[in-house]
């Protein structure tokens, strides 16, 4: 049997997923009102049109306006682990204005002081910079206000409204409010409705922007996402909504855009004429940890494929935007999602693989299988691994397979995008002992962020041996500056009114229109014999076969 190579297959199978079911999943055309709103959002005035000349050349040429950061779900895990440490870090490095207030909203009873004390404890555990800087913390603590509130309580929201008005006077927050919904997804609609009911969504001309940050998941299928968007749009204009997926705030994801559109040499070869296929991997060595109940409801397709994997795919495949403004970027991403062939039952059966981990060994430690994890059904059919073959039906990518995979309890934590270029048309070095492998451009997103280019080189000596070598660029060898945490980046962007790295309603729906047919098809067919891969392996054998039938194989990461 001929040795398998990573490249070499024709692109003729790229359109294996039949384009059926598109009409049902395609979002409805926008109404005239929605178009007007979109145009208005593109042309809306900058929040602060008078730049500070002393900021030229500094880290930020514009800083957030005075404002209140209203954190719903302030006592929850996400708030304590991610959101509040990010705010503290922005505060301690002087990236938030002095006229700032953190209004923590949750059901449990706290005073301002007792909540600040609890935050302080969390920061000692979760802040990426230790020890906690006392002077900075004491200043921030003064700006923390706790508001006990049941999200269904009308009177409670009236009190919140009053409190925010008071802060405009006492703290100089100037009518600007960012509402951050770090809550259960099921509570989003109610909170947004209440915000609308008390008029907290109303922006005013003399200052007073209102923005709402919504955490993923944005729905659990196409219909629920569309419903959620519809409910949100009853209260808020799309330009006020910031759907956060922390993955998009990662430095290397952002750099992907710079890499593609800031370097002239790659774009000419970034198409079906030169690229054989693309592999995108999001591998985790962890299991579901304490999130068994959550994971039972989501699985890898909802947790990773619908957002992280498809987001990375859009960034790789999108056309150059006309500018780096939020809507220009997001328009191009949506175009990619809409060009992905929509799966049907048959294409899901042959092109999408699901897996569930059994027991095994990871990083030298024995690990339990998924069905033995806490809060997991012992006969669960939830997938912890998904791999799929997708194609993009447009002029740039037609015939180029995109292989996507994500899984838990894989041998290592690694996220990578690999662009495999086509093989050379003629092998000139026949006497060489080994064929050089095709060129690969790999972008590592985590860990060890960097970019690698694989190419052939002659082995020094009298013969003409050709070997494959790697040219490796690692971020931490070129930049002294620490990368910020993704939440710091995204919260700062939301405060600055930059929505480039947030997901738009149509983008969410377009992504669900790719994934929902897969989930629906799985519901209609018997599950594989789970568990079908051992913890510490690279997933089920069927995932390897998915590429092997095309004469390719997954990259060894």
């Amino acid at each position: 049997m001929a040795a398998q190579k990573e490249g070499g297959a024709s692109g003729s199978r790229a359109n294996r997923i039949a384009a059926t079911g598109r009409a049902a999943a395609t979002p409805p055309a926008r109404t005239a009102k929605q178009y007007r709103e979109a145009a208005a959002s593109r042309h809306r005035a900058k929040p602060d049109s008078d730049p500070n000349p002393l900021r030229q050349g500094l880290r930020l040429e514009r800083v957030p306006d005075p404002g209140a950061f209203v954190l719903f779900g302030a006592t929850g895990d996400l708030a304590h682990r991610k959101v509040i440490p990010a705010i503290y870090q922005l505060w301690r490095t002087n990236l938030l204005p002095a006229e700032f207030s953190l209004v923590a909203v949750a059901r449990r009873p706290y005073t301002n002081e007792s909540f600040a004390a609890e935050i302080r404890t969390s920061l000692e555990k979760y802040s990426r910079v230790q020890p906690i800087d006392e002077a900075s913390w004491s200043e921030l603590a003064k700006r923390i206000v706790y508001q006990q509130l049941d999200f269904g309580d009308d009177a409670g929201f009236d009190r919140l409204c009053q409190k925010l008005d008071e802060l405009d006077t006492t703290c100089g927050t100037n009518g600007n409010r960012l509402f951050y919904l770090a809550t259960q997804p099921s509570q989003v609609t109610e909170i947004v409705r209440q915000i609308g009911r008390v008029g907290l969504d109303h922006e005013t001309r003399g200052g007073g922007w209102r923005r709402v940050v919504i955490e993923k998941p944005f729905g659990r299928d196409f219909e629920s996402a569309r419903h959620l968007n519809h409910e949100v749009s009853k209260v808020l204009r799309e330009s006020q909504v910031y759907r956060i997926d922390h993955y998009l705030g990662k430095e290397t994801v952002r750099n992907l855009l710079v890499f593609r559109f800031g370097n002239g040499i790659f774009e000419p070869v970034w198409n079906r004429s030169f690229i054989d296929h693309v592999q995108i991997t999001v591998a985790e060595s962890l299991g579901v940890e304490s999130r068994g109940a959550f994971y039972e409801e989501t699985g890898a397709s909802r947790d990773i494929l619908q957002n992280h994997l498809l987001q990375l795919m859009t960034l790789v495949a999108m056309e150059p935007p006309t500018s780096f403004h939020a809507d220009a970027l997001r328009d191009e991403k949506v175009q990619v999602l809409r060009a992905i062939s929509t799966p049907n039952l048959e294409s899901v059966r042959s092109n999408v693989i699901r897996g569930q981990y059994g027991s095994g060994w990871v990083e030298g430690e024995p690990t339990a299988g998924y069905r033995q994890e806490p809060e997991v059904d012992p006969e669960s059919e939830t997938e912890t691994y998904v791999a799929g073959f997708f194609s993009i039906d447009d002029w740039r990518w037609s015939g180029v397979p995109f292989y996507l995979r994500a899984g838990k309890r894989l041998p290592k934590r690694a996220t990578e995008i690999a662009i495999q270029f086509k093989d050379v048309p003629l092998r000139l070095f026949r006497e060489s002992s080994g064929d050089p492998a095709p060129n690969v451009l790999a972008m590592r997103i985590q860990p060890d962020e960097g970019i690698m280019l694989r190419f052939a080189a002659k082995v020094p000596g009298l013969g003409l041996d050709v070997r494959t070598v790697n040219m490796d660029f690692a971020y931490d060898t070129s930049f002294v500056v620490d990368s910020p945490d993704a939440y710091e980046t995204l919260i700062l962007d939301a405060l600055l009114g930059d929505a480039s790295l947030f997901t738009r309603a149509d983008e969410v729906e377009a992504a669900w229109s790719v994934v929902t047919p897969i989930i629906d098809a799985w519901a209609d067919m018997p599950a594989p014999d789970f568990p079908n891969y051992a913890s510490g392996s690279w997933g089920p054998e069927a995932a390897d076969e998915l590429l092997e039938r095309d004469g390719r194989r997954w990259r060894r990461i």
Binding site: D48, D50, N52, P53, L54, R55, Q56, G57, L58, R59, V63, D65, P66, W91, R92, T93, N94, P97, A98, E99, V129, D133, A135, S136, E139, G172, G207, W361, D448, D472, A474, D476, T477, S478, F479, V480
Partner: protein
């Protein structure tokens, strides 16, 4: 492989560089073989294979590490002066090399009147990104050259053949650069980037600052002055004073800029405290706020220095006042900006410690904001790193340097 012998010519240096990296390549091949063993091994044999890999690594000779790539992103030429300074620079470069692997040429001189000659030592720096995790490392090289006698006056002839072609050249002159001398005329044209530390210059440093500013203007040379780089945290803090929209208009109504600095002696009576940093604050502010010089800087009997600027239709008083503090001589103690607009007087004040910066804003005599934030003083390693990263002209620095020159010009047009 033991330490390489001392080289006495450029040809010997080049020969040693070849020997050094050929040896690293052998070590690399050994390590690669062992890695192949590791990959082929079954799980139960992994520990044994890992031990084989470790053993193979032990046979490599750049610090016992597995060197995967020889890397350079620039040529870094250091005119260190004497040998102790050269050692200090070498330590700083070694700490920076992980981020900025470079071919470093560190030049020092001894025995100016003795016989001509050179002694050179070639070293490889093994750059571990994450020590002991088994990941491949990159390597860079340092060439330390001590020039004797007449050779010291012809450093360019040593430097040029040892530069890695096609890479930018940064010239780091850590002591007093002799601008205008035969030596600087030979060395400066080699450089794409000049790295200096204006705050370490002898005397008050202002003559040399004027020379540097004139040179940068005439030759359009990219200059990274640590004195200015150190002020990044001050600039952030001063900018933050005017971030509130209602205070922004005050930037067009500045009446007074006062910089208090730490004097080497009470009242800076001899005038020998280096005041490059205090002056740089003023130059940056004036250049950003559209000011012009009416009266250049002059020293007064009480040890202070004053100047008069103009912003739009009003004068701006500038005062550099010596003070006493535990900070090193020439360090800034406080920067204070006073503005007056429609009857409102705003005083923005910034002071800095080792790890924090404190900002306060007084509005008509009442404290509006007092805030401290984390902004540690930059180390020499960080300063060198930032200087290297800033290899393209920074318009803010260019403007500040030009304003510095304007502040130092005498009324007759000459420089001080």
């Amino acid at each position: 492989m033991g330490p390489l012998p001392v080289a006495h010519s450029v040809a010997e240096i080049e020969g040693q560089l070849g020997t050094l990296w050929a040896h690293a390549a052998v070590a690399r091949a050994d390590a690669a073989k062992a890695e192949a063993v590791l990959m082929a091994a079954q799980a139960e044999a992994a520990a044994r294979a890992a031990a084989a890999l470790a053993a193979a690594r032990d046979t490599s000779d750049i610090g016992g590490h597995h060197v995967a790539a020889r890397t350079s992103v620039l040529n870094l030429v250091v005119v260190a002066g004497d040998e102790p300074a050269a050692r200090h620079c070498a330590e700083t470069i070694a700490a920076t090399a992980g981020h900025h692997p470079s071919r470093s040429l560190i030049l020092s001189e001894v025995d100016e009147r003795g016989p001509a000659g050179l002694e050179a030592r070639v070293e490889a720096l093994s750059l571990s990104l994450a020590p002991d995790d088994g990941r491949p490392e990159t390597g860079a090289e340092t060439i330390s050259v001590t020039a004797h006698g007449e050779t010291g006056r012809h450093l360019a002839s040593i430097i040029v053949p040892l530069l890695v072609h096609d890479l930018p050249v940064a010239l780091w002159w850590p002591s007093d650069p002799p601008f205008g001398s035969h030596r600087s005329e030979r060395l400066l044209p080699l450089a794409d980037l000049l790295i200096v530390d204006g705050s370490s210059w002898s005397g008050d440093g202002l003559d040399r600052l004027a020379q540097l500013a004139a040179l940068a203007g005439e030759r359009r040379m990219v200059v990274a002055d640590w004195a200015l780089l150190r002020q990044a945290r001050w600039r952030e803090a001063l900018a933050s004073v005017y971030d509130p929209p209602d205070l922004r208009p005050h930037l067009g109504a500045v009446r007074r800029i006062q910089v208090e600095y730490s004097a080497a002696e009470p009242g800076d009576s001899s005038g020998q405290t280096n005041v490059v940093r205090p002056l740089s604050h003023v130059a940056w502010l004036a250049s950003r706020l559209g000011m012009t010089v009416v009266e250049p800087i002059q020293r007064n009997d009480d040890g202070s220095r004053t100047a008069t600027l103009r912003q739009a239709d009003h004068a701006v008083e500038v005062v550099l006042s010596p003070g006493q503090s535990k900070l090193g001589a020439g360090s800034t103690i406080r920067v204070e900006i006073t503005s007056q607009l429609r009857g409102a007087v705003v005083v923005g004040s910034v002071a800095a410690g080792d790890r924090t910066v404190e900002v306060s804003i007084q509005h008509n005599g009442r404290e509006r904001v007092r805030r401290s934030f984390a902004a540690p003083r930059l180390t020499e390693v960080e300063l060198l790193g930032r200087a290297i990263e800033g290899s393209s002209p920074d318009p803010v620095a260019v403007d500040a340097l030009a304003m510095g020159l304007a502040l130092l010009r005498s009324p007759s047009g000459g420089v001080r």
